[in-house]
Every structure is written in structure tokens, then in C-alpha cells.
Assembly symmetry: C2
Homo-oligomer: 335 residues x 2
């Protein structure tokens, strides 16, 4: 069996309460007793049982992050940043995958699993307003997502429309006449996809440019494989396409491969802009022009919101929009 607090207490000849007080940094303990207990803790290899602490008091020092998928680099980067930030305040992060399916995401949100955390940051994908509304968490939750979400939650979303508008406007400015939107679509509720599609439209409207025919290339998944094949085929069908705004950097990398498959060059024949500014974006050749969602800002705000909510469960929910900016690299032509 693992060493418990009462083992330490017995060895030190004190009560468990004194051990608990020492371990929690409570003030009213003599220096001598404190030191003796600390030594014993080391010697016996005592480690607190977080389940017991949690059962009695809340507070585990753990924050949960629920993401749709572990193997999407965007979430990997988000998790890494969040982890670093939390470490600064002595807490740590556990990441769980919701699998982007409604059932899995709801299961991930089940209080049972969440209770082990002091608070949870939930990246909402695949849930609509009503699904989320059914969730009545008894612990602080911050929502990260694009769709319309119940106002009673603290939430952060990217400025998807503006980002997509910037991306598309940049392409049009650089001489593109026919900007295909890879991974776009108007179906369903407000989502990353529909919002970015809206931005692509808006950029055309802003300049009085006509939307290209069949300009939206739908994708089953926002993955490289899929994007590569669809973009290649689209270019073969229609040589007038001279630019791709890809809904994510992953799609953009797939699109770049597809463009090459079609025997064309980036950016001379076809320009490309992505969205996410993944680490990867700097390292493909040519380096990818993309929209930076300011993850550092998002992460910082998410923790701030969580902390404020942990502090005051009744505070008014906040609704933040992250700034976005265009990062110009080599997949678009110089002015």
C-alpha cells in the first residue's frame, strides 16, 4: 500500500491534521514540527492522494483541456502553450480527446470525468448550441469555439470572418482572379467552416468582385490527404483557378501538394493562403502565407477567464473574440 498521511503522522508523533497543515502551507505550525514532517514525507515517499483531497475539498491543481483530436497539430500547439502557462502557477494540464463526434464530446463533458479538474477548457466542435446548453457543469468551464454558444458560458472565439476576409483580400490584391475556397461550405450552424466561408464571400463583395463559379471546394475532412486530391482534380478541371484559400494550414499543405501534382507552381501559377499559422507553415516550401489566430492570446485569456470564474462562480460570463492577423510568406506573390 501507498504511504498515507496517517503513516507520516504516526512516524512524526503528531496528528494527521498537523501533517495536513504543513502540506497545505498553513501558518500555525512550529518550524521544528514542520521540518520533521517534511523530512518524514521525503523519507517515507509520501504522496498526497488527490482523489481523497478532491472528495473533501475540490482543488486538485489540474486543469482539463478537451480537444476534438490529439493528432491535429493546431490542438497540440494550443495544449503545449496552455501547459506552459499553467505550469507558471503550479498547476498542470491534462488533455482529453472528444473525437469530434457528438456522443464522444458529450461523454467527455460528462461531469464524471470533469470533476477531477479544477476547471475545464473545452474546444467545442461537433456540438451545436442546444447540445452545449444541455450541459450544466458544476465546475468552471471556458468554451473555445466558433459556433453560437449559450451566453451563460465564458467563451472565446477567433475572428474567423475577419481572418478569412484578410486572407482572401490578400489574394485578390496580389492579382488572383479565381480564388477557390478549399474546405469551405455553408451547411449547418455557424461554425469555423461557415464563418470562414462568409469571410471569403465578404472579401469578394468588398472589392465588387464576382464569386468564382463552383468556388467552394467541399472537403469531407480538413486533412492533407483529402485536400490534395480534391485540389489537384479541381485544377485539372478548371485551369482558370489561380489561388486557393485553404480553411486550415493542414488543408493548405495538402493543397500545395495537389497543386504540384497538377503540374503547377506555387505561387507563380497558383497562390495559397492558409489559416492557423502552425509551426509547419514556416517550414513548407515555399513558406505558407497564413492567418495567425493569436493562440498565445487565446490561451492567456482562457486561463484568465477560468481563474476569474474559479474565484467567483457567479460572475457574469464573458465573451471574447481573439484578434487575427495575416502573416505574409512565400505562397503569395510580392506586391
Amino acid at each position: 500500500m501507498a504511504t498515507t498521511m496517517s503513516d507520516v503522522a504516526r512516524a512524526a508523533g503528531v496528528s494527521v491534521m498537523t501533517v495536513s497543515n504543513v502540506l497545505n502551507g498553513k501558518p500555525r505550525v512550529s518550524a521544528a514540527t514542520r521540518q520533521r514532517i517534511l523530512d518524514l514525507v521525503d523519507e517515507l515517499g509520501y504522496e498526497i492522494n488527490l482523489s481523497a483531497r478532491r472528495l473533501r475539498s475540490d482543488r486538485t491543481g489540474s486543469i482539463g483541456l478537451i480537444v476534438p483530436r490529439f493528432d491535429h497539430p493546431y490542438f497540440g500547439e494550443l495544449a503545449a502553450q496552455l501547459s506552459r502557462l499553467l505550469a507558471a502557477t503550479g498547476r498542470h494540464l491534462a488533455v482529453e480527446q472528444s473525437d469530434a463526434s457528438k456522443e464522444a464530446e458529450l461523454a467527455a463533458l460528462s461531469m464524471a470525468r470533469l470533476q477531477t479538474y479544477d476547471g475545464v477548457i473545452l474546444s467545442v466542435v461537433g456540438l451545436d448550441h442546444d447540445d452545449i446548453d444541455r450541459i450544466r457543469p458544476s465546475l468552471p468551464v471556458v468554451l473555445l469555439g466558433e459556433q453560437n454558444m449559450p451566453r451563460r458560458f465564458d467563451q472565446i472565439h477567433m475572428d474567423n470572418v475577419e481572418g478569412a476576409r484578410l486572407a482572401t483580400a490578400h489574394l485578390l490584391e496580389r492579382g488572383a482572379r479565381h480564388v477557390v475556397l478549399a474546405g469551405g461550405g455553408d451547411e449547418g450552424h455557424a461554425s469555423m467552416m461557415t464563418l470562414r466561408t462568409r469571410g471569403w464571400r465578404a472579401a469578394h463583395e468588398d472589392r465588387g468582385a464576382a464569386l468564382p463559379p463552383a468556388g467552394i471546394l467541399t472537403l469531407e475532412e480538413f486533412e492533407m490527404d483529402c485536400a490534395r486530391v480534391r485540389v489537384r482534380d479541381r485544377l485539372r478541371d478548371d485551369p482558370s483557378v489561380d489561388a486557393v484559400f485553404a480553411i486550415t494550414d493542414q488543408v493548405a499543405v495538402g493543397a500545395m501538394a495537389g497543386i504540384r501534382d497538377a503540374g503547377l507552381r506555387v505561387p507563380q501559377d497558383v497562390q495559397v493562403v492558409g489559416f492557423d499559422n502552425l509551426a509547419l507553415a514556416r517550414h513548407v516550401t515555399p513558406a505558407l502565407t497564413t492567418i495567425d489566430p493569436e493562440n498565445a492570446w487565446i490561451v492567456e485569456q482562457a486561463v484568465a477567464l477560468l481563474d476569474r470564474r474559479i474565484d467567483d462562480r457567479e460572475k457574469d460570463p464573458e465573451h471574447l473574440v481573439s484578434p487575427v492577423r495575416l502573416v505574409e510568406r512565400g505562397t503569395t506573390r510580392p506586391r
Copy 2:
């Protein structure tokens, strides 16, 4: 307050034990009572308190995976596969980051954090044999790693030497005369790096080929940025380099960018082989020839080992070596 079992019991007019039995699928409960309780659970929105269950009985249905970094795609892919596999048996995965530093990794391994899991899969980086040996987990742990690890743990490692040998031999076979090892090194204990370096050496010895002078390009980090710059500089210094064996796919992608920066072509001027077979490897241009570590196999075995150990804490530890194979793509020349 959240609904507890006794709330449900009171509402159903039964004891908490009956509720517990229903929720745990115990057989000796009448169908009528079971249904009544299930309905009430729904109605009251009851969710089990895992901390309480854990405190009493072990079993949370959660498995922990500790990885050095969230933002390395290799671990993202590993976690995703593991998550999928565990879901099949009704369990779920939480991933924690150890940050690749010794302190952080030891902290991640502290029983306090691990106790919330039924078992833990630990990807060991930055710890040597003695550090790991200091760990006396009271719960099942499977080690994933390359260095020499205490035999009392169940463990899995890749066949790094063989993989590196395959990669290097392939380059030599395809006419390479000067294979630089990007990210290699002999320093420190057995590690992914030193083992792959050994394989690179062995392939040369096998063919009676001399090792190139300054053939090992050390890298501070196995990251694209770093690899790109170092490879570019190396090629500029020494035009005789005609191949790069990159210690990881990430390094390989960086190397490919560096080769282009130096004004050379892949694979005509410089061939490249990576290691990991990330999803990314198929989508760079040209597609990356690499070593596949058979992650699916690793994940499957890790869960099997964990389950066997959960079943029998006293069983003899097992020590598995994953098979590796070469995946030939476009960064090496056809035969």
C-alpha cells in the same frame, strides 16, 4: 451541489447500495428497480463522483499517457491511436506533458497525479535508468522509450538501430556517397539519438563504406527550424554531401527546406530519409521516404501489457521491441 447517489436512492426509495449495484451492472437487481433507478439517474442528472469511487475501489476507467511534448506530431498521433483503442473497451485516455525536462518528468510521474488513473503509459525522455529506478509506482506503468530502463517495468521500445540501419543502407544502395546524419550524436546514455546513430554507423560498416568526415550534424533540438539552418549551412560548406538521414521526420522536413535554401534539389542532388512515418511525411513534396515505427503495434502492445499488469500486479515484466520497416517514397531515387 451535484446530485449524489444517495439523492437517487432517496428518490427511488431504495438504499445507495442498490443504486451502486445498478450503476455497476451487478446482476442481483430486479428489472423494475433497475429501470426506476436508471430513469431517476437521467431525470436528476446524476453523474458518478470518480474521486469517491477511486478512493474506495481503484478503477476510474481512465488511462494516462505522459508524453514529453504535446506539440510534437509523433506524440499526437500516438495519443490519437491509443485513445481510439481504449475507447473500444469503454475506457478513455488523458494525456499529460512532461516537458522533456527531468524535473517536469519526475513531477509528472509523481504518484499524486498518477493515482487518478487505472494505469499509465509513460514515454520516457530525459530520464536515465537511475531516475526511472527511483520511481516506485503503486499502479501499473508501461514504459515507452529507447534508453536502458529498469527491467522491473513492462516496456516497449522501437528497434532504433535496425531502423537507422535500414534507412542508411537504403541511401547507400541508391548511390549516396556521403550520408550526413542530421540530429545524430553519441553523447550520453543509450537514447533514440545514440541508437539511431549506431544504426547509421552499422550500415556503413555492413557495406565496408567509410564514414563521411564530420558526418554527424548535431542539433540542439529535433525541430524543423534548427534542422533547416544547420543542413543548409552544411551543404554550403561541403558540396560533396549527397544524402541526409534525418533522425526524425520533423528534422527531415526541416532538412528538405534547408536543401532547397542551399539551391539544391531533392532527391536529384540530395536524397533524404526520415524516421517516424508521420502523416506529414506523405504530404510534403516530394513525399518523404522514412522508417515506420509501427505505432499501431506499439499502442496495441502497450495496452495489452497494461491490462495484463492490471490483472496481475506480480507478473514478470515484459520487454518488447517493435518491428520497423522502410517506407519508400519520393525523397530517395528509384533503384
